[in-house]
């Protein structure tokens, strides 16, 4: 996949995520069939495709939230396999995820939602954790909501808290599922800036999105999924300007 030049020293051409011929069904419904994908360290991959094409499922498989039926997935050197609890635990230290449905903890305040993993997993002190939490809350423009409970947030605020919660852990790989869907253009722009900074800092990001403008601007690589397969993939200029398949052409043509 494309490599973005950046000051980080690590070997950028080595793939940090390798998805190899992965298939997955829910009962009779085949959701992924033979998906293969490589993501290099520090790159930003956007996955686009129609609703129901398996984007969320692919992300969940990468993070060991779904059992796969066939194929292999390697992320940050870990062989992803739900059954192997020890590996899964190490995988979690390296991978962060933001869900399409946020999944904030309803019984905790915004601040506590963020500091939880910092204190419990990364063993930071309370004060330290809160400093980090306040910094990321500031990044997403929610410094004034730290004492609120999730049900007191608007849709966009909840989504930003979910983003902040993952960012605070500073993982090597971030998986974003439609992470700007509830954000207005202004905020989207701000979140985007944050992401670009992270990518420059060497973080690898995979994001599912249906906003083509966003994909075009941020991604090194765009992956178009269709019917559970990787239908086309390539740098955004190529994908958007010169689609090879009629499916992608149709998908793009309907944009507003």
């Amino acid at each position: 996949m494309a490599i973005k030049d950046s000051p980080a020293p690590a070997d950028r051409s080595e793939p940090i995520i390798v998805v190899d011929s992965v298939s997955k069904s829910f009962g009779p419904v085949t959701v992924l069939s033979g998906v293969s994908l490589e993501v290099t360290r520090g790159s930003m991959v956007a996955i686009v495709g129609r609703s129901g094409s398996g984007k969320s499922t692919l992300l969940r498989c990468m993070n060991a939230l779904e059992e796969i039926d066939a194929g292999t997935i390697r992320v940050c050197g870990h062989n992803v396999d739900m059954a192997d609890r020890a590996t899964v635990r190490r995988l979690r230290d390296d991978v962060g995820m933001v869900f399409q449905s946020y999944n904030l903890f309803p019984h905790l305040t915004v601040l506590r939602n963020i500091t939880l993993a910092l204190t419990a997993v990364q063993k930071k002190s309370k004060a330290e954790a809160e400093t980090v939490a306040r910094r990321v809350l500031g990044l997403v423009g929610l410094a004034d909501k730290e004492a609120a409970y999730p049900e007191q947030l608007s849709g966009g605020q909840a989504q930003r808290v979910a983003i902040a919660r993952s960012l605070a852990l500073n993982p090597k790989v971030m998986l974003f599922d439609e992470v700007t869907s509830a954000l207005d253009p202004e905020l989207t722009g701000e979140v985007l800036k944050v992401m670009e900074d992270l990518a420059t800092g060497g973080m690898t990001m995979v994001l599912v999105t249906h906003e083509m403008g966003f994909a075009k601007r941020v991604a090194d690589t765009v992956v178009f999924m269709h019917q559970g397969k990787v239908w086309e993939a390539g740098p955004p200029e190529k994908i958007f300007a010169d689609p090879q398949t009629p499916e992608l052409r149709q998908f793009l043509s309907s944009g507003l």
């Binding site: 635990r89 979690r92 991978v95 999944n103 903890f105 019984h107 305040t109 993993a117 997993v121 049900e151």
Partner: protein, 215 residues
């Protein structure tokens, strides 16, 4: 034959002390073992799950009276003489744990799967997922059935009369048999039980209200 007097009333009150002691034993022992049991019942390990299921099935299916009887006299018969209080504490713990464990399992399972996933994804280990995310949410829905069962325990300690405890209910029977004034006697028995159980109900309401904050 004599009539119900203040003396009888104090006799009942004195017997109620046993009811309280036995209830506290049941709460303490049953609460701890019950939590362990609930966690075993939702464990990922099949063997653990299976064993816990058997335990729940057997103990829930056996009347407390029988558990008490067998652990006191039964052990005696095979040569272990144990103290009545120990036998009662042991039986009540076994029994309470089976029911609390089952109640709590239901509450744990009612926390949406997505909450587990989110907790898992930020790197919490299994114990931390329980402690920080799942149990706090399960507790709210667990309070009413838990308290409901606890007030039943208070009353079920009366079965310990089978192994010789003269607790409130047995004392009521003795008084009734001496005075033949069942309504008066049992109204007082009921009032004393009410005085012991109602605070539990009040506490339950209080905690329910408190836990509602932010939910």
């Amino acid at each position: 034959m004599n009539t119900f007097s203040t003396g009888h009333f104090f006799y009942l009150i004195e017997a109620a002390r046993w009811t309280i002691v036995l209830s506290l034993l049941a709460f303490a022992g049953g609460g701890i073992l019950g939590l362990v049991l609930a966690l075993c019942r939702v464990s990922e390990n099949r063997v653990v799950r299976f064993l816990a299921t058997i335990y729940v099935q057997v103990i829930q299916g056996t009347p407390l009276l029988v558990v008490l009887f067998l652990s006191y006299y039964g052990l005696s018969i095979i040569g272990y003489n144990i103290d009545a209080l120990l036998a009662a504490g042991f039986s009540l713990t076994l029994y309470t744990a089976a029911f609390l464990g089952e109640i709590w399992r239901g509450c744990i399972l009612s926390v949406p799967k997505t909450q587990w996933e989110a907790a898992n994804c930020i790197g919490l280990n299994r114990a931390q997922q329980y402690y920080y995310v799942v149990l706090p949410q399960a507790v709210r829905i667990a309070i009413p059935p838990t308290v409901g069962f606890m007030v039943q325990i208070v009353k079920n300690t009366s079965l310990a009369s089978i192994i010789g405890f003269v607790e409130l209910t047995r004392a009521g029977q003795v008084v009734n048999n001496s005075t033949f004034q069942p309504f008066l006697t049992f109204v007082f028995v009921a009032l004393i039980y009410f005085a012991m159980c109602y605070p539990l109900s009040l506490a339950s309401r209080y905690f329910e209200r408190r836990l509602k904050v932010g939910n």
